[in-house]
């Protein structure tokens, strides 16, 4: 290692990432953030102080060894960086793009105390993209065992569990209801934020591990979880079906034709490629003035997709203030740059009917922040007499989702009061051999948390099946010798580093 760096000696400014100009990008579906090039990545990697206490690692839901991978970048050993990343994170290209880093690793980065935090996410993406470009994969030697594992749902939770179980030697099949695998990454998050090629590359890596994908398969209805464990001969099953059941506001005008869920808008646009209508057959509801309700990632995606589909005006309506908005900071910022008009502290009261079954506009009421509620956020309360109307012809709800009812309808799995699957601390569900994780357990959360849950469930599953899992399951087996000391894994010297989920 070079001379010890100090906060004074590192490049002071966070290296900016090239982006498409807001005016241009608001008209296309190309990726907005172009990613770091070599020079930029090298420069940014120099900003890491290699802190001995590694706060960023504990900020990461899956405990990526962040300073170690950044160190490899400074050494221009990108393959080495990739190996370290994939020790814990199956989808670096995806997570580098969509993780809420500001609340995780970057939120606790030491540099961030006096300057802007190290752009860990951007560096992660740089390495992940290099791997896709170069075709790197880490396929360990797999000793097949006799176990058959079924995975229900192909989102990040299911993919992560599938990968670990395949690496452990199991015969793994992933069942997906849609005609394409990927879960929210495919149907929800738009191309300009996460291109489909990135997801497909990651899915191909799973296939290389021997994981089989069966799309067009609605588990619960085509066969049940009980049948999987029973007659179909699966030794263990992981349920990662997500929580996509959209909430409607329940205000007058809800069922008008111009009102739809963000999930419907995004699925039509992203998965069904309605943006390429009529080349693809699925139609899209078009709006000139679109009002999106909510301020999470889903809402930001809906606003930005609407702009790209040609809306003249896009409003974002949120009943709390900007600080409470659950979306990644970068998404709000991007939406703003692209011309989305934000109405903070504004709550919809009703949707106005145009008399022909469509939407004429929306009636809203202004809010102010009162006392903190149970979530610790200050509760918004309506300001009396502040109602106002504005014109809109499309209203998109992005106000949250609930558990999908199919698993509950068709299995004996115990659910909690809100309809999510009940699991113990090892993510084991109430039926022996069945594990669950991701949004269907926690409610809508993040990609990285879903992935972490998939890995955690895989660990429990291995224990359940009696597969030897030395507690060091994510060793670097690429044969490069990286991460080993005289053949002894570095983590065997220092157990503190072994951190999973």
């Amino acid at each position: 290692m070079a001379k010890k760096k100090t906060i004074r000696s590192i490049p002071q400014e966070r290296t900016p990432m090239r982006e498409q100009a807001p005016q241009a990008r608001a008209k296309n579906f190309e990726e907005v953030a172009c990613g770091y090039g070599l020079e930029e990545a090298l420069r940014e990697s120099e900003r890491c102080l290699m802190c001995p206490d590694e706060p960023c690692i504990s900020g990461c839901p899956v405990g990526i060894n962040i300073p170690a991978f950044i160190l490899k970048i400074t050494e221009k050993n990108f393959r080495g960086a990739y190996d370290i990343l994939t020790d814990t994170n199956l989808l670096p290209s995806v997570c580098g793009r969509v993780c809420p880093q500001e609340n995780q690793c970057e939120g606790v980065c030491t540099v961030g105390e006096s300057l802007e935090a190290v752009a860990i996410g951007r560096l992660e993406r740089f390495v992940g993209d290099a791997a896709i470009r170069e075709g790197w994969t880490n396929i360990p030697y797999i000793e097949p065992n006799r176990f058959k594992v079924g995975i229900v749902g192909s989102g990040p939770a299911g993919m992560a569990c599938a990968a670990d179980m395949a690496k452990a030697g199991c015969d793994v099949t992933v069942y997906e209801a849609f005609h394409q695998a990927g879960g929210v990454l495919k149907y929800g998050i738009p191309d300009f934020r996460l291109p489909n090629e990135v997801i497909d590359a990651e899915i191909d890596n799973l296939k290389k591990l021997g994981v089989k994908f069966e799309c067009n398969t609605l588990v619960g209805r085509l066969f049940t979880i009980d049948q999987m464990i029973g007659e179909m001969g699966f030794h263990a099953v992981f349920v990662g079906v997500g929580a996509g059941y959209p909430t409607m506001l329940g205000i007058p005008g809800d069922s008008l034709n111009g009102v739809l869920s963000a999930n419907e808008l995004l699925t039509r646009c992203n998965l069904m490629r309605a943006k390429e209508f009529p080349d693809y057959d699925t139609p899209l509801p078009m709006g000139k003035r679109v009002a999106v309700v909510g301020a999470g990632n889903t809402a930001m995606d809906a606003t930005r997709v609407s702009l790209r589909l040609g809306a003249e005006k896009v409003y974002c309506i949120y009943r709390r203030s900007r600080t409470e908005a659950p979306a990644r900071a970068e998404e709000v910022h991007h939406a703003e740059q692209e011309g989305v008009e934000f109405h903070w502290l504004t709550n919809p009261a009703s949707i106005l009917d145009d008399g022909k079954g469509g939407v004429l506009g929306m009636r809203c009421v202004r809010m102010e922040l009162g006392e903190p509620d149970s979530s610790g956020r200050r509760r918004p309360v309506p300001i009396a007499g502040s109602e106002f109307d504005f014109a809109a012809d499309l209203v998109v709800y992005a106000i949250g989702t609930n558990a999908n009812p199919i698993m509950g309808q068709t299995s004996s799995l115990k659910l909690n009061k809100r309809g999510y699957i009940d699991v113990d601390e090892n993510l084991a569900a109430s039926v022996a051999g069945v594990f669950a994780g991701g949004d269907i357990v926690t409610g809508a959360a993040t990609v990285i948390e879903a992935m972490g849950a998939g890995r955690k469930a895989a660990r429990s599953m291995k224990a359940y099946l009696g597969i030897r899992d030395a507690g060091l399951p994510y060793l670097n087996r690429s044969g490069t010798g990286a991460g080993t000391l005289f053949g002894i894994d570095t983590r065997e010297r220092n157990f503190a580093r072994v951190r999973v989920a």
């Binding site: 209801a177 005609h179 067009n216 609605l218 996509g244 739809l260 057959d281 199919i406």
Partner: protein, 314 residues
């Protein structure tokens, strides 16, 4: 273990616009129950369209759907779905199966496309020992299908055509009135067809408080409860047809809301269909047609729109 490659093993053309497809999918044939539906994709660029399961054969391992060519996708399917070809995708069986109640006397009402999916229900009731009256409505004699199939499993069959070219002349509600006049002890009515028809049917039985189940089929995307596009109002509450239905109490369903929501994409659908018909015409003029059957020409546009509205919810 590949589930199925969705191969079409049989096809029957009931009329210029109505055709039957039998698809090999052994696992689905095993799981399917009356009242459930599937979502199919013709090819990678297609829409996902919901179709009610009209029949299934566990022994042969096949699932049957009856389709009316009314929009671009269904017209293209009519042209391309030949025996030996395969669908790009088919997922299901979706939705709650119909509850075959213990009613002793039931009327099974099917209009237009609804005739096909009402069949397994009629058969189900017969198998559980009920007296089954089938009431089927078609536009005219040429569109009638499965008459013998119904005769074989029902105690009575009332056939209605708009022009009287087969059975009684009149709307399906006339058939229901006739059945209600003949039998005062009908315990349950099951009705599948265009929303207007199901609405009329529910109105016809409301006064006598006869339990009336209808099968709604709104516009869908995923069919797994994830988009909310299929929402319907039932008893003042919002339900998702794909996971809460598709069967609901006909006296509770807000049919006007359903019909209005079915119009969501009319303009885009028309555009797609026109564009497609035009390209078919072009190909035919240019040279040997790619289509083995020729594009189905429908005489008047207004008839087509009628059909379109009929078929939705069928």
């Amino acid at each position: 273990m590949k589930m199925s490659n969705f191969e079409i093993v049989a096809r029957e053309d009931f009329s210029d616009v109505t055709y039957l497809l039998e698809v090999r999918h052994p696992l689905m044939a095993k799981a399917a129950k009356p009242g459930q539906f599937v979502i199919v994709m013709l090819n990678e660029h297609s829409e996902r369209i919901p179709l009610t399961i009209a029949d299934f054969d566990r022994r042969k391992g096949t699932v049957t759907m009856v389709v009316q060519a009314v929009g671009k996708t269904t017209m293209q399917m009519q042209q391309e779905c030949l025996v030996g070809t395969a669908l790009f995708g088919m997922v299901g069986p979706m939705g709650h199966p119909s509850q075959t109640s213990r009613a002793k006397k039931v009327a099974c009402v099917g209009g237009g496309l609804g005739v096909a999916p009402i069949f397994p229900q009629a058969r189900g009731f017969k198998e559980s020992g009920a007296y089954v009256i089938a009431i089927l409505g078609f536009r005219n004699r040429d569109l009638v299908f499965w008459e013998d199939k119904f005769r074989a499993c029902c105690d009575e069959l009332i056939l209605c055509t708009n022009d009287g070219s087969a059975g009684i002349k009149g709307m399906i509600t006339d058939g229901i009135k006739l059945a209600l006049a003949r039998h005062s002890d009908i315990e349950e009515v099951v009705s599948i067809g265009p929303p207007v028809m199901m609405k009329a049917c529910a109105e016809a039985t409301r006064a006598a408080k006869i339990k009336t189940m209808v099968s709604v089929n709104p516009i869908m995307v995923d069919g797994t409860g994830m988009c909310g596009g299929c929402r319907v109002k039932v008893g003042g509450q919002v339900k998702f047809a794909c996971v809460d239905g598709p069967d609901f109490d006909g006296h509770q369903v807000d049919f006007d809301d359903l019909m209005s929501r079915l119009q969501r994409f009319t303009a885009a659908e028309r555009e797609a269909k026109d564009r497609w018909s035009e390209s078919c015409r072009m190909t035919k003029q240019i040279g040997p047609g790619v289509s083995p059957r020729g594009s189905p020409e429908i005489e008047s546009r207004s008839e087509l729109l009628d059909l379109l509205n009929d078929a939705k919810g069928g």
